[in-house]
């Protein structure tokens, strides 16, 4: 009978592949047994079949009993920080793109209609990206935690000494920390992906904006995968901080690992000479900002040619300071406890 097939299908579809065949067979046997009991060997009607299925109940519930566990991408434990992160990321994206729209609109007020259309399209795409990345990162964290609890449940019993310290003011990561981190990550990503040509020397002449970009946008495009990885790493770090909210050894390890990895990735991109605007000096001269042989010309040229080394040095320094600060904060907490 078709309704029985549909019922069995509805149950087994929600079960792991390798169990389906057997459970299907078992369910068919059960339903036939139940039907037989009802009809006492007579012919089963549609109504009989339906009453048997009603007795077995909602196929979703039956499948859940067969599975024995609930499945979800982001569990109830993770849902609150997930929502918080999602809100922050989406709001930052909206603010960043609206800021870019404002800059464009001020520079070229005549093209406001096209600018606005592009803004809406970009906003939708960026929201989808933000939503996707936050969800992926949280699903990943959730998956790891589920595996961890499943593993630790058997191997090592819980002890009172496992209880975490009640975090004092120092150990607690202030919520503003990861929030500003998230906003920075989003702004950085949006800037790299949508507005890298805004990064440069700005000139406003006769109400018209001219930017001499530092970077070669066409070459930089090839480095978008690195931007994505940086965004994902930043997101992962801030998400873990929002979830844990405490300075711990493993938290510090994660922070250091991600900071160093990000710094290395940025340096890899910067080390490519083609990434820089090849005609930067020439454009400066053309704009009348710099004169060959004029005052400061040699300084600008020497800074420009050494820009990669300077930046790599600077990024290395900032990373070092960041790592030292975080380690120091963690060390203070650890010795205080």
């Amino acid at each position: 009978m078709e309704v029985i097939e549909r019922y069995v299908y509805a149950v087994t579809q929600r079960l792991p592949e390798q169990q389906r065949t057997e459970i299907k067979r078992e369910l068919h046997g059960l339903i036939e047994d139940m039907l037989e009991e009802r009809t006492q060997g007579g012919k089963a009607s549609q109504a009989d079949a339906e009453s048997v299925l009603l007795e077995l109940g909602d196929p979703n519930a039956l499948a859940a009993k067969y599975r024995g566990y609930d499945r979800y991408l982001i569990g109830p434990l993770m849902f609150e920080p997930y929502l918080t992160t999602l809100k922050i990321v989406l709001i930052s994206i909206a603010i960043a793109l609206t800021g870019l729209l404002a800059i464009d609109a001020i520079a070229n007020p005549a093209e406001i209609v096209e600018q606005f259309t592009e803004y809406v399209v970009t906003l939708i795409a960026a929201f989808a990206q933000g939503f996707g990345w936050v969800t992926i990162v949280f699903a990943f964290i959730d998956y790891r935690m589920q595996k961890e609890t499943a593993g630790s449940g058997k191997s090592k019993p819980w002890k009172p000494s496992d209880l975490p310290q009640i975090p004092d003011a120092q150990a607690r990561i202030k919520m503003s920390d990861p929030i500003s981190g998230l906003i920075f990550t989003v702004l950085f990503t949006v800037l790299c992906l949508y507005a890298i040509d805004l990064l440069g020397v700005w000139r406003i002449t006769d109400g018209e904006r001219k930017v001499i970009p530092f970077l070669n946008a066409d070459v930089f495009r090839h480095y978008f995968p690195i931007v994505w990885v940086l965004a994902a790493l930043g997101l992962l770090k801030e998400c873990v901080r929002i979830i844990v909210r405490r300075r711990t050894g493993s938290m510090l390890a994660l922070h250091v690992a991600i900071s160093v990895a990000s710094a290395v990735l940025v340096c890899v991109a910067l080390a490519d000479p083609a990434i820089w605007n090849p005609d930067f000096i020439g454009q400066l001269e053309a704009a009348g900002l710099l004169q060959a042989g004029g005052e400061g010309y040699d300084t600008v040229v020497s800074i420009w040619t050494g820009v990669t080394d300077w930046l790599v040095l600077l990024i290395g320094l900032f990373t070092l300071i960041d790592v030292i600060t975080e380690t120091y904060k963690w060390y203070k907490v650890k010795t205080a406890a």
Partner: protein, 121 residues
């Protein structure tokens, strides 16, 4: 105020849930298939619906308390379950624990009839 009967039924359901495992184990020294257990248990006063029983049998098999084999000789192929040696051991251990539980519950309920607090009489 919540309905007394409804609350009792809800709590009773929780109490019964654990006993179903023992009921099932008790009947499986001889091989049985899922649906044949239903009337056997019902006759002894344990109503269990097949939608609960079938997944439970699979779970107990996964926990290695039961062994199973398909019988395809009959008109309808059926999966027969039987206590494993491990399951037998677990079941007899459970029965001992159950008797202790009943005894201690008797003690607790007996000295405190009608839910009155201790020492009020």
């Amino acid at each position: 105020m919540a309905d007394v009967n409804e609350t009792i039924n809800g709590l009773l359901g929780e109490l019964r849930r654990g006993t179903i495992v023992m009921g099932v184990l008790s009947q499986l020294s001889e091989p049985q298939y899922g649906y044949s257990l239903v009337p056997v248990l019902e006759e002894k006063g344990m109503a269990v619906d097949p939608g609960t029983l079938y997944p439970l049998l699979r779970r107990l098999e996964k926990q290695e308390l039961l062994e199973s084999r398909w019988d395809t000789n009959e008109a309808r192929p059926r999966k027969y379950y039987l206590l494993s040696p491990f399951g037998r051991e677990v079941y007899s251990g459970l029965c001992m624990e159950w008797r202790k539980l009943v005894a201690s519950m008797e003690g607790i309920i007996g000295e405190n009839k009608g839910g009155e607090p201790d020492g009020s009489n």
